[in-house]
Symmetry: C2
Subunit: 210 residues, 2 copies
DNA sequence: TATAGACTTGTACCGGGTCCAGCTTTCTGT
DNA sequence: ACAGAAAGCTGGACCCGGTACAAGTCTATA
């Protein structure tokens, strides 16, 4: 588009200028594998695509695939390196003024936006093979350490029990929203669901109706 | 202990008299495999014991192992057939008078008691290999259909979103209690944890302190 | 006691995941 | 610009969990 020999990557990633060739190639490979994988999987279904298929179609060896993704599931659920950065920014946002549960709702909505793009595909895959739901929870657990630390800092005395309870409950609410969302509905609908679930869970489910 | 030829099973299981030879042998095999597996695993650790090891030590073939347990993890987490019966009894208990969340707490406490015996071992295994936590959640999902239906019946209009939210949140509270429990503490301590977690989650976590 | 049906077994196979030794590519210091 | 260090890629061997299947063995039933 500009100079010849310039990787297509730089269009999507202004950081490319700063990265060495090594890093740039790595990111490019990551994205190639991911998009190839998603194409194959969304076409044939998760179980009908083997890691070899993905590796082959990506022009890479099986071994290399596993050097980029720790498991077959990860290629569906892992965040793009840039999105990981956005996730960290979300947690770093110094909105110390908000009460815990509101701040947590904000973070959840931010996370929802990060997941937005691949969510419809993921929901379709869930319907095909429910075992994947488990794996997705696994992958979401990648956020656990960061998020728990974030919660802990906002919890009186950093009480670990309370921290864990808040984390797990928020996670439950978030998962419920994902479960309940119909990919045919708008994305705003999904955000509303996330908000509602967190509000209800935060307000307490013991009351007959909220 | 009494008449010769009488299976040791009948001491534990008065139903044995009613069961045919087939069923009795099956239950006996199930228990042999389970206890052999737990012995090996608690000694060497989960990953260091293969299904072949278990099958071999149980005097049974690998194929047969998988006809009793759907996965290697299941041999650690599945409920004894008799316990499954107790679980169903728990759900059938017609305490329609209690409000949903209290009734749910009762059910959770009942479940806790069913899990009691193997919980210390399971917690030790969790520490060794955190991947197992996931599998345990999997296995607990075996309760999901029953429990969701149970909740749905007690939810206004059987609203599926609310049902899912209640289920997931209760599950989160229960898991938190399991996470937080130290196997060196008494079992009553664990029950108290379950109660507390459910109470807090039910009362709403958005409040600064409960 | 014979037969239908359940249970077991060995074997072969698939696919995910790890390990390793050797090769190619990029980076760094001079 | 070049040499050596370091990082990355590759194929192949291997382990293990899980499934399929055909053949055998045992229990139930009439």
């Amino acid at each position: 588009m500009t100079r010849p020999g310039k990787s297509s990557l730089s269009e999507h990633c202004p950081l490319a200028a700063v990265m060495g060739l090594r890093e740039r190639k790595k990111l490019e490979a990551w994205r190639t594998i991911r998009s190839t994988a998603l194409a194959l999987i969304s076409e044939r279904g998760f179980d009908a695509v083997s890691v070899e298929d993905i590796a082959g179609a990506s022009g890479v060896s099986r071994t290399t695939f596993f050097s980029y993704f720790p498991s077959k599931e990860a290629v569906v659920f892992d965040l793009d390196p840039l999105e990981v950065q956005q996730w960290r920014d979300l947690l770093a946002d110094p909105r110390a003024d908000l009460p815990l549960w509101e701040a947590l709702t904000d973070v959840s909505l931010g996370l929802a936006r990060l997941l937005a793009e691949r969510l419809p595909l993921q929901k379709r895959l869930f319907e095909q093979s429910p075992e994947l739901c488990t794996s997705s929870r696994d992958t979401c657990d990648a956020f656990e350490p960061d998020l728990k630390e974030w919660i802990s800092r906002r919890t009186p005395d950093g009480d670990p029990l309370r921290t864990a309870l808040v984390y797990n409950t928020a996670f439950a609410a978030f998962s419920t929203a994902i479960e309940a969302w119909d990919p045919d509905d708008s994305f705003e609908h999904f955000l509303a669901l996330v908000r509602d679930c967190l509000r209800w869970a935060g307000a307490g489910l013991a009351h007959p109706v909220s």
